[in-house]
């Protein structure tokens, strides 16, 4: 019974195994990135970036159809141009990062829609928005795994300046010039993980697997390292449980994964150890000192 419910779907169907591997890889790559987005108060940046890569991927699609390479390249280029452009403008002018990003992604979206409509092609919008995690081929899996690997490695390199820049940017500037490059590298990671997630879950849900585990982790840890581990675990659980839910109930898989992540978040808001609602309503007795 337990075997039938929890393991058999993956043991019997190759597409389920692929989907599981893909979502686990996404959780490992996107979780830590999401934690830093949240800590830098850039939670909505992921959403903006997801909109920004959409036109790039659409142009890739127009040029060469449903080609993995073209859509990935298009998404990456659009994402990088916007991330770097917004980052640079925020650093050299008075404009704050979120404002400059808003300007960029709106322009990108308009450019994308214009190009697509000029071509007069009707693209498969559902695929773009909600992906197809149950139809991951070898190349797409390799792409996602590669992005995750690169993402974890880069994060290891820029970890210290990234944390410093969140806590005390003035101090980092006074001891090192690593802040700027680390910031740009981090934005690149956001783009890469969104493009990876885009193939499996579509642009909208890719943000979900990045941000929901991160905001969930905030309710369970007071320390960045623990927060990252919890976010990865929450992402992995969402992927696994979401695929099972979708398998047994016949629900669409991408949204099922995000709904499980959303449920984890909702439970954490209620019973979370760090600032959860129940903890605030029924606080433990205060201490002696």
């Amino acid at each position: 019974m337990i075997y039938d419910t929890l393991i058999a779907p993956f043991a019997e169907f190759a597409f389920m195994r692929r989907a599981l591997v893909g979502t686990l890889a996404l959780a490992l790559g996107a979780g830590p990135v999401g934690v830093f987005l949240m800590l830098r108060r850039m939670s909505l940046v992921g959403d903006a970036m997801a909109h920004a890569i959409l036109p790039g991927a659409a142009i890739g699609f127009l040029v060469s159809g449903l080609s993995l390479f073209a859509m990935t390249a298009g998404g990456l280029i659009a994402g990088f141009v916007i991330a770097v452009g917004a980052g640079v403008i925020a650093r050299v002018t008075e404009l704050k990062e979120d404002a400059s990003l808003a300007a960029f992604f709106l322009i990108s979206l308009a450019v994308g829609v214009t190009i697509v409509s000029l071509k007069g092609t009707n693209i498969d919008l559902l695929h773009f928005l909600f992906g197809s995690v149950l139809a991951l081929d070898d190349h797409t899996l390799l792409l996602i795994a590669g992005i995750t690997t690169l993402s974890v490695l880069v994060l290891a390199v820029i970890y210290r300046p990234l944390v410093l820049e969140c806590v005390d940017p003035g101090f980092l500037r006074s001891v090192s010039r690593a802040g700027g490059p680390a910031h740009i590298a981090f934005l690149a990671l956001v783009v890469m993980n969104l493009v990876g997630g885009f193939h499996a879950l579509g642009t909208l849900l890719a943000v979900g697997v990045m941000m929901l585990p991160a905001v969930t982790a905030r309710f369970w840890a007071r320390d960045v390292t623990a927060m990252i581990l919890i976010a990865v675990a929450a992402g992995a659980i969402s992927g696994y449980a979401g695929l099972l839910v979708s398998f047994h109930l016949g629900a669409p898989s991408g949204p099922a994964i995000i709904l499980v992540a959303g449920a984890l978040y909702a439970v954490s808001v209620l019973v979370g150890r760090v600032g959860g609602v129940l903890r605030q309503i029924f606080p433990a007795r205060h201490l002696e000192a």
């Binding site: 806590v167 006074s174 320390d223 960045v224």
Partner: protein
């Protein structure tokens, strides 16, 4: 004694309006200097210039072989996100950046140093506390511990004893004296003139223009202080270009 810093007809400011005007002089290596002046006198601006956060409008600063990044700097208002989930220990350990950098290991010797620094500022036992739970004075102690670890030949302190109680101020003053005996160059902006007179052998009185610079008792005269107070603080929107 050799110089640690030299100001060459230095003018610093914002949008072409000078906040420090034509400062000329040398800070000797190992000096203990108080920078005194009313609010808006240009003290913080001068410090930002020294650590390279502000480009001079004219003139220059010679760091005499140091890089701006080798100067340990405590800003007046640190832009610290106190909600960030990081412990006091890690916050202090940031002071090791120059040695450890991106990837350098933090071994037993470094951990001992962090512990010593926390002991020196009276924060032993606070290692695991998140920085969000610290009081203002404890935060200032934390920042001083980090400065200790930075091990800078030049230490720049912008109003370090603001909003801390007398006990904390006294403890932190001891650290400043310790830096002085270790032959480090210390430049601090202060408002407490009694403290300046008792502790700092040298003072610079600033009111946008340098008013006086030298031995503290010669600088902090009633006449000089009055002169400093009279100098206006506001920008003149329609000021002419400076000919000097």
């Amino acid at each position: 004694m050799s110089a640690a810093l030299a100001f060459d007809n230095l003018t610093l400011g914002y949008d072409r309006h000078p906040a420090v005007h034509h400062l000329h002089g040398e800070v000797k290596s190992g000096a203990l200097i108080a920078v005194v002046g009313p609010n808006g006198a240009g003290k913080s601006t001068l410090f930002k210039g020294i650590v390279g956060m502000l480009k001079p409008l004219a003139g220059g600063i010679d760091l005499c072989g140091l890089r701006a990044r080798d100067i340990a700097y405590l800003p007046q208002v640190a832009d610290i996100d106190r909600t960030f989930p990081i412990s006091v220990y890690d916050m202090v350990a940031m002071g090791l950046w120059r040695k450890a950098g991106l990837f350098g290991g933090i071994g037993k010797r470094e951990r001992d140093k962090v512990r010593d620094a926390m002991l020196a500022v009276g924060l032993s036992g606070f290692e695991e506390r998140p920085i969000g739970t610290l009081s203002g004075g404890q935060m200032q102690r934390t920042l001083f511990a980090r400065l200790l670890l930075q091990d800078g030949r030049v230490v720049v302190l912008d109003e370090p004893f603001n909003a801390v109680d007398t006990k904390t101020a006294a403890d932190l003053c001891d650290l400043v004296r310790r830096w002085h005996t270790e032959k480090r160059t210390v430049i601090a902006a202060l408002h407490d003139l009694e403290l300046v007179k008792s502790m700092f052998p040298e003072a610079l009185l600033l009111a946008r223009e340098p008013v006086a610079w030298g031995a503290t008792k010669d600088v902090l005269t009633a006449e000089n202080l009055l002169k400093a107070r009279r100098m206006c603080e506001a920008f003149d929107e329609h000021a002419e270009a400076c000919a000097a």
